[in-house]
């Protein structure tokens, strides 16, 4: 079956399909649920982007599309995010991979060698597909393996993969570096320049540096393999490996009985793959892969109930009767509007009527999609407001400040509710503006002023070679008290019930003030005050947003922090400034402080490029008093997902910085609506920074402005405007 543009073919076992898709409470189900053993797979197209014509489910042991140890030229579907874990010859590899664009793929890998025999290592790969596969030619991909990190398995390769029929894929490639450890020959590139003949000795140093003078140098070797898709779930593999396995042989965990590795891959469902293989004819290994694609939510458009229908006014009723001067009538309209909005989980903050325009402030604490909240508000206003009101200005409010003004024509809503192509037509007729300085009314104080929440938490410490994963489980109590709509107190207390994060005993040398390297000392107490702050938000002028925070800002620092953001409502560019005077908190995370204090702050520029790529540059003074710059790049999806990476370079030298040479990490935000389908504004924010050092460190202040403001601005709302009518 061929899928039209914008739709993706997915292989879905029927049992899987029957499980997820329909809100079961609403309709009833005639048959009992199908049994889970259905192996028959359906080919389905889902409304999403065009996927690879031939999707290859198999990833290598090192977390890249490939066979067992050898890479292939195939790519994962665009935006696919994978976690793999493998264990073979007593060594463990855990990887995190992202298909950045349809042709560009990156992997981060954490390798734990056979226990007690050497150090855990971190590495990263980057691959680019030069040619896509067609009927006539193979896909061709160029790759850098372990190009940043400790470099122990550094390699470069050019690999081609061609499908013969639908089931058989043939892969062959030319490898350099650690992929030329067997049957290697003189570098063919030496014909171009003699310099390619020798591979320079790697200067690993502290790791983390790109050693491009090694690339494609030294002897080369030819590797290759076959994969055969037996059924939609089972794939058989065989490869000729040119990897060295020197470490494993030296440690006695592997014998090189044969250069051939064989394997079998089993697709449990569309998100989980299991992999078993025989390495070098000697040792059996296992791996699994879990993948999620930010572009493919559980349910497109979500499972929220139907929005209220647009109420169309009777013809020729649109005359003002002067009634809005009557306070009792106005109060009735206000209450009706508030009740209807509350019925769809939106809070009415202010309503004012002026001639033919209604100005409405709302708070959305429910819909993950800001556009959906605005769309539902507009529908309700068609039902609750008197007929002479022609224009709605909807102002989303967070922390008491106006984030934008979205101006809609009531006649457009009536006319376009069921019109073909109503999404694009309405967007073209909608105005976004900064309403803050002219809009009448002020949001009221929240009722109740005091709010609390009790829930579970999981906190992890990772990448300590002594114990790469440590976890704490416990309860967290969040409290907040609103003094005025823009001024509130909030805090959280964590109480550990079980866990082992307190077992960490690292004492890394550091030539800098210990601003982060002693973070493990803050995990010793069971009950801690994680955060307690007073926060004040304000709008100093048009396009300007401000925040002042004071108190225990985060687990390691307290103090005062101020931020100013410039962000025109229709601009892709935002500029910000943040300045904080902080003092280091006591290890017990109660109310005390240690002696270290500093002034830290940054100037920031944010830019939203086409195609979902966002960049942010921060320049300023870091916690240890070092000066420098952080560059962040993220692919941000209209549904709230974000996958990005960042790197910080400061005036601390690589030697003084220590392991890793400079600060770098990955951040992934997952909107929970993506997984469950039910509306929620909950987003799981994950920051993975494998090495925490004292250089290039920053404080983590809650409630930063850009993340609050951007979702309600024109550029961002336009991307998901399809949700307006949902």
């Amino acid at each position: 079956m061929r899928c039209p543009p914008g739709f993706t073919r997915r292989v879905l076992p029927t049992a899987f399909k029957s499980r997820l898709r329909v809100p079961k409470r609403l309709f009833s189900k005639k048959r009992p649920a199908r049994t889970g053993g259905a192996i028959l797979a359906l080919f389905l197209c889902s409304a999403s982007a065009l996927a690879d014509p031939v999707a290859d489910p198999s990833f290598s042991r090192y977390g890249v599309p490939g066979l067992i140890d050898m890479p292939a030229a195939s790519m994962a579907p665009d935006a696919d995010l994978s976690v793999t874990a493998s264990n073979a010859a007593e060594a463990t590899n855990v990887t995190l991979s992202f298909q950045i664009t349809p042709r560009l793929f990156a992997t981060y890998r954490y390798s734990i060698p056979a226990s007690g025999r050497g150090f855990a290592g971190q590495s990263a790969d980057l691959r680019y597909q030069l040619l896509r596969e067609t009927g006539m030619r193979p896909a061709v991909t160029i790759g850098l393996q372990d190009f940043i990190g400790t470099g122990t398995s550094a390699a470069e390769y050019v690999v081609a993969t061609k499908h013969v029929g639908r089931r058989l894929a043939v892969t062959t490639g030319l490898g350099w570096g650690s992929l030329a450890s067997r049957n290697s020959f003189r570098n063919p590139l030496a014909g171009l320049s003699e310099g390619f003949e020798q591979r320079p000795v790697r200067d690993t140093g502290l790791g983390g540096e790109v050693e491009y003078d090694q690339w494609f140098h030294g002897p080369a070797a030819v590797f290759g393999g076959l994969s055969y898709q037996l059924t939609p779930r089972w794939t058989l593999q065989a490869e000729y490996s040119t990897a060295s396995y020197d470490v494993e042989v030296r440690e006695g965990t592997l014998n090189r009985a044969s250069p051939v590795n064989i394997g079998v891959n089993y697709a449990l469902n569309e998100n989980v793959n299991l992999h078993a293989f025989l390495l070098q004819g000697d040792r059996v290994g296992f791996a699994f892969r879990i993948n999620q694609n930010p572009r493919i939510p559980a349910v497109n458009g979500g499972l929220a109930t139907a929005p209220p229908p647009v109420q169309v006014r009777p013809a020729r009723s649109a005359t003002a009767l002067g009634w809005q001067n009557d306070p009792a009538t106005f109060e009735q309209v206000r209450q009706d509007t508030a009740t209807l909005l509350a019925g769809t989980q939106i809070e009415l903050l202010t309503l004012s009527l002026d001639d033919d325009t209604a100005t409405v402030r709302i708070a959305n604490g429910y819909y993950g999609s800001e556009v959906q909240a605005v769309g539902r508000t507009a529908r309700i206003l068609t039902a609750s407001l008197p007929a002479h009101i022609e224009r709605f200005e909807i102002i989303p409010v967070d922390d008491g400040i106006d984030l934008s003004g979205i101006v809609l024509s009531r006649a457009d809503l009536e006319r376009l509710e069921f019109a073909p192509r109503n999404t694009e037509t309405l967007l073209a007729r909608t105005t976004f503006r900064d309403a803050s300085l002219s809009a009448p009314g002020r949001p009221p104080v929240a009722d109740p002023r005091f709010r609390w929440g009790l829930g579970p938490y999981i906190k992890g410490s990772y990448f300590d070679p002594a114990d790469p994963v440590r976890l704490d489980f416990g309860a967290h109590l969040d409290v907040s008290y609103q003094i005025t709509p823009v001024f509130s107190l909030s805090g959280s207390v964590l109480s550990r019930l079980a866990g082992n994060r307190d077992e960490a005993k690292r004492d890394d040398p550091s030539t800098l003030p210990r601003v982060r390297t002693d973070v493990f000392r803050y995990a010793k107490e069971d009950t801690v005050l994680e955060r307690l702050t007073a926060d004040y938000y304000f709008r100093p002028g048009k396009n300007l947003y401000g925040r002042l925070s004071a108190g225990y800002l985060e687990e390691m620092y307290g103090g005062v922090s101020g931020e100013l953001l410039w962000k025109p409502v229709d601009s892709r560019l935002a500029l910000g400034a943040e300045l904080s005077a902080v003092k280091k908190r006591s290890f017990d995370q109660r109310f005390g402080f240690k002696s270290y204090e500093t002034l830290t702050g940054h100037l920031s520029a944010y830019y939203d490029f086409d195609g979902g790529f966002h960049t942010r540059v921060d320049a300023g003074r870091y916690l240890a008093g070092d000066w420098g710059t952080t560059i962040s790049l993220a692919r941000r999806f209209a549904n709230g997902w974000s996958v990005g990476a960042y790197a910080t370079f400061t005036d601390v030298s690589f030697e003084d910085y220590g392991e890793g040479s400079f600060t770098k990490g990955v951040s992934i935000s997952i909107p929970l609506e993506h997984l469950a389908g039910q509306p929620t504004r909950l987003v799981q924010n994950n920051v993975i920074q494998p090495i925490v050092r004292d250089g290039g460190a920053r404080i983590n202040v809650s409630g930063r402005l850009y993340g609050k403001v951007r979702p309600y601005h024109a550029t961002e709302m336009a991307k998901s405007w399809g949700r307006f009518w949902r």
Binding site: M1, P4, P5, G6, F7, R21, V22, P23, K24, R25, L26, S28, K29, K30, C45, S46, A47, S48, V83, I290, R295, I296, V299, N300, G301, L303, T305, A306, P309, V310, V312, Y366, S369, F418, P420, R421, T423, G453, L454, G455, P456, I458, K459, G460, S461, D464, F520, L675, A676, T680, R681, L682, N686, V687, I688, P690, I691, K719, S720, R726
Partner: protein, 213 residues
Amino acid sequence: MALKQSVPAMVVLLPVLLAACGTNSAISDRRALLQAAPSLLRPSEPNPTADEIRARITPEIRQLLSGTPAAIVTLEDQALSSIIYQAAANGAVATFFTPDNRSLSFREGVLVATRGLGFDLMSTDTGDAVQAIRGRGSSYTRLYQYLDGEEAIVSLTFRCTAQGNGLVHETCQGDWGTVENSYSVGSDGDILASRQWIGPERGYLRVEPALVD
């Protein structure tokens, strides 16, 4: 060494599935998800068919519905049935709701939108379908629009013909292959019952009268 939360997607749901309480909206959200989770993860108990629903329409319910157009709908692929009743009208389009707040909108009997089913039919251009089903007109174009996984609108276009009298078969060919809708049309031209395609994920919807006299 130490870091903040860095958890694969599978683990992410874990805190959500654990109990939470409080007045904070974020926490209440978790609770809402918690309540929703069983319906997504557990097979629901057997529920009534269209015939069983019709049998349950007692004279009292009939009284309540009097004057309000109603119907019984079935999602064929999922074998789910529900009663629907009209809640709004915008020009020629009537919007019907299920008791649990999912909606279906029809332009003179031809499905033009769904809301709350997931993978909803967001908007349509039915072209000359209404006239053709009533026996006037021949070949016409229909457009179906949906949300993709990134909140963008994606479209399917079909070329359709309608044939028959009384029982009308509408055959549409296009991006999705072939779609076959059928309508039972009364002598006054009203559509009395139908089987209509919603979209790639939801398949076909059967619409039958709620009241059989």
